[in-house]
Structure formats: C-alpha cells, structure tokens
Amino acid sequence: MATQQTKIRWGELEEDDNEDLDFLLPPRQVIGPDENGIKKVIEYKFNDEGNKVKITTTTRVRKLANARLSKRAVERRSWPKFGDAVREDVGSRLTMVSTEEILLERPRAPGSKVEETKVAGDSLAQLGKGGAVLMVCRTCGKKGDHWTSRCPYKDLAPPAEGFIDKPAASDTATAAAGSGKSTYVPPGMRAGAERSGTDMRRRNDENSVRVTNLSEDTREPDLLELFRPFGAVSRVYVAVDQKTGMSRGFGFVNFVNKEDAQRAINKLNGYGYDNLILRVEWATPRTN
C-alpha cells in the first residue's frame, strides 16, 4: 500500500507549487572521465517556470601532479578554516585559475643556440649588412635581440620618424608620399618599400615548410632536431589538439634561408620517420 501512496496524482501536482518535485526527475548521470579526461555530468532540474531542464556540464579532469601525500598532509586537508577564512563566502573568489595560458617562454627557439645566420648568396643575407645580424630593431637600434614590433622599449622611445625622414630611395617614392612628413605615408609607398614588403613576405611564408604525416608523439624539439642539419631554423611549430594535448600530425618549420628549406624538402619528403612516411612541402603553393 505504501507504494500506492507515493504514486503521483497529476491533478494535485498542478496546484501544489511548493512541493518538492525533484523525485520526478531522472537521476543525475556522470559519464567519464574518459581517456582524455573529459567528464560529463548530466543533471535535470526544474527552472523557475516549472519547466524541466537538462543541464550538461562538461569538465576536463586533469591530474596536476602525482600527489603522494604524507599522512599528516592528508589530515591537514580536513583542518577547519580559521581566521578570516572562516567568514569567507563562496562568492568572494579569492582563488581563481588564470584564464590565460602562461607558458615558460623560451628566449630562443627550443634547442637552438645563439648562432650567426649563414651568409649565402641569398638576398636575405645581404639585407643585413655585414652579414651577421638579421634582426635590427628600428626603435632602439639593438641588433639581433628582437624585431621592431616586439621592441620592449617601444613605449619608452620617442615616436620614430627615422624611416620617413630618410632621403627617399627613388623619385617615385617621394612623389607618391605627397606633401611631406605630416601626411600619412602607407608602408608600401615609403622609401625602401619594395625591399621590406617583399622580404617580409618571404620571411613569413616562403621559407615555411609544412610537414604532414607526423607521428602522434612528435614534439617541436624532435622536429627541430630533424630539420636543423639543413640550416638555420627560425620557428618550429607542431599543431597540438587543445583537448587531448596530442599532436595533430602536422607542423611547420620556418627556415632563415630559402635554399636550406628547399634542400630539406628534397631530402625529407618521403623520409621514414617514426615508422611513418613524412610529407614535406612548401607551406604555400609556389606561384612559379
């Protein structure tokens, strides 16, 4: 008979708002955590209008460290709060996890030593007169430390007018610049534009090599090790899955010199690496 009592009569429920209807809901469901540490919690509840809503919370469970705690440390875990921490309300949010991913920023590409760039018959090498330093900061004049856009002293320096004031390399440039320094001169029209514009692109794209069919546990240092024998490498990148932290099987390598990149492609395309056959090609389809 008791079971008969708990059975709900729908007519009564409609009228009685205060009654706790939680027992009507499907039970809470916990799925996971799966091998990627993704855990799903599915809960059901009534919202203010009395409608049934399903709440799915997806969290990622990460093991931060192998916690091998001493007995006393475990005991301390259950110590009651004291001092100001007693009155701490949940909303005070004293402790937060940074929304920003902070990395240990390497001063150089991992694995590479400070090294002078190769002086080849390359136009890029000629660009840095004297051959040794490619990077010259236009703001603070420091050589080889950083690019102009990354200059840490950018805000300290007076607004740089240097490259506008410079005598124009050709007459066409001045003509295009119009009435002098006060007007805006687009970067493409500035003195020495033909040089910087094209070279900039060369540096970013053309010496970039795409490597595909990498094995899952290939990391940036491995790739660097593989490509470094061909010449100076300015950047190595391996695409990593945000969720799983596993490599997605492709990456990019930027070379300082075009010739080195070409040699690397010739040599490594079709090369067996970690029992997979690598595919190495220019990152952007070549026009010529």
Binding site: F82, G83, V97, S98, I102, L104, D155, R219, P221
Partner: protein, 326 residues
C-alpha cells in the same frame, strides 16, 4: 600551464614559504595578516591575525605545527599553524625583518633593522617545545654590520649563521660565539644591496639575489663563489629548484618607478636559469608588478611567486617542463 591566482592580500607580497610536506603555502605581505593556503588548489586555509605592521618573513617548523613571523611592528610572533592562535611574542626595539628556524626547530634566528639610534642585529632565540615555557631571552645577539640585514639563515648543522643585507656583503657567523668567520670578498661579491637568500634543498650551497641585477651561487662552508646569473633587472627574489638544476630569479624595476612604464617593459617575469650552464631557460610572465617573493614546492613540481601587485601566483608545471633541454 594555467597558474592559480590567489588574491588574499591587499598589499604587496613580501615572502612565501612552503612547509616541508609541500601541502601548505604560507604568504606574508605588507598588510598585517600572514595567510596559509593549500598548495595544490590554492584554497585559503586561514589567516594569522595579530600583527600590527607589515610582515616581512616567516618560517614553519618541520612538523608544520608552528609558524614564526617577523614584522615591522617590532615583534616576532610564534603561531599555532592549525588554529591561527598566537603562542608567543618576541618584542624588539626595532622592526624584525628575517626569521628562520634552525634544524630541529629548537632555535630561531631573527634579524632586526637599524632604527633610530640602534644598529641592525641578529638575535638567536631558544624555542621551547612547550609554548607556555617560552621566554623572550636571546641566546646570542650579533651586532656589527652596517645597514639592514635582509636575510639571515642557518648554516649546516646549525653551527653557522649566514647573513646578507644592504651592505652587499655576505657574512658567516659562528652561531655559538657570535664571531665573524667569513666574509665574501669584495671583488666577486655583489655590488648593491642583497635582497634575498635561499638555500639549496641539501643545504650545500645557497643563492643570493641583489639589486645589482645579478644572482650568485655560493658554497655554504667556504663561501666561494660558484656561479653568477646575470639579468636585466634588479633581483628581488630567488629560488632553487629541489628537483632540477634550475634557479629562478624574480624582480623587476623598482616599485617606485613601476607606474611610469608599460608592464611589458618592466620585465616582471620569473626567469628560469640553468644552474650549471648559467644560461637562461625561459621566463614566466603574469605579474603586474615586480616579483617580491618566490618559493619552490619541495617536490619541485610547482612554484609560486608573490608580487608587488598583491597576487600570489601558483604554477603547476606542465609535463614539458621536466624535459627541457637547452
């Protein structure tokens, strides 16, 4: 890594200390309440109320039952770690700066600042097992060096006390007689005030950070210079990894000049150096002011930094960190 931000202090941080098991983190700041946090998730466990001035440093006993703090209110206090109650107060005539428990927790060294007519001093106090029998008497008082002593710690077997401070000279004292045993020579030593001093996990060497933009590694017995790490900014805090051959330097420009520049130019990062090769490994950014305090978890898998911005940032290292190669 995603650091855990702990905003429990309203004023700049001054000191951080892990207990021996590495599950608790004690933080001191220029506000008057030292705080204890769980070192894994950054949850606040409690605060130690009672000081009436900036708290400059602290130390926790090996069994994590007692805490000693030194404060600018001219006292050093002993606390019960679990309940936050005061056990004893050592009164001085000038601000207490640095505190350090000896091995075995039977003695403590406390330094006091120069104040009015008084010179700086190093006091050695006996710590009794039972707090009710505790007295404020000093076993030994060492006076002599000019300027503030920023840090004084115990040497091996409690036989020596190592002190460093504003006069940029590192001194080793006999902890029984108070006699000066060694002094770092002027040539290899620091050129500007020493701000911080940290012992290695095994106690065989120690690291000093100075406003002369360098940190130096010294042998604890012979006081010979082993390594020098050069950076671009004054060093306020140093820490040695107990796990890897890494040292961490924290600093940034002077607090008074901070607002004049962008935070990127201020270099408020914790810089990692290879201990042996003296080469920079990398930097961890995030603070909006100079880093005043650094501490490594005794397991070497996480570290925390405290800044002028009032935040403690607790970093659990990514797995990549442990196979970094230069």
């Amino acid at each position: 890594m995603r650091p855990i931000l702990m905003k429990g202090h309203e004023r700049p941080l001054t000191f951080l200390k892990y207990n021996r098991d590495g599950d608790l983190l004690f933080s001191c700041a220029k506000d008057h309440t030292p705080t204890v946090w769980f070192a894994d998730n950054g949850e606040r466990l409690g605060t130690y109320r009672g000081h009436n001035g900036a708290v400059w440093s602290c130390d926790v006993s090996r069994d994590s039952t007692r805490l000693i703090t030194g404060s600018a209110d001219q006292t050093a206090k002993l606390w019960n770690v679990q309940t936050g109650t005061q056990l004893f107060t050592f009164n001085f005539d000038s601000p207490a700066r640095s505190v350090d428990f000896a091995i075995g927790d039977k003695l403590a060294v406390i330094t006091t600042d120069p104040f009015m007519e008084l010179t700086s001093a190093i006091h050695v106090k006996r710590i009794t097992r039972d707090a009710t029998e505790q007295t404020g008497e000093s076993v030994l008082v060492i006076k002599g060096p000019q300027g503030r002593i920023n840090r004084a710690i115990w040497g091996p077997l409690n036989s020596t006390i190592i002190s460093a401070g504003e006069d940029a000279v590192i001194r080793i004292w006999d902890s029984e007689t108070g006699k000066l045993l060694r002094e770092a020579d002027k040539e290899s030593g620091h050129k500007k005030p020493i701000t911080s001093l940290a012992k290695s996990a095994d106690g065989s060497h120690f690291l000093t950070g100075s406003l002369d933009k360098s940190a130096k590694l010294w042998d604890v017995r012979t006081l010979t210079l082993i390594k020098t790490y050069v950076t671009e900014r004054p060093v306020n805090a140093v820490a040695l990894s107990p796990l890897l051959d890494h040292v961490v330097l924290g600093g940034g420009q002077d607090a008074s000049a901070v607002t004049t520049t962008d935070h990127r130019a201020g270099k408020f990062e914790a810089k990692f150096y290879d201990k042996i090769l003296q080469e920079e490994i990398g930097g961890v950014k995030g603070h909006f002011g100079p880093i005043n305090a650094l501490a490594f978890n005794p397991d070497g898998k996480s570290f925390s930094s405290g800044g002028e911005d009032g935040y403690v940032r607790l970093h659990h290292f990514d797995p990549d960190y442990f196979n970094i190669k230069i």
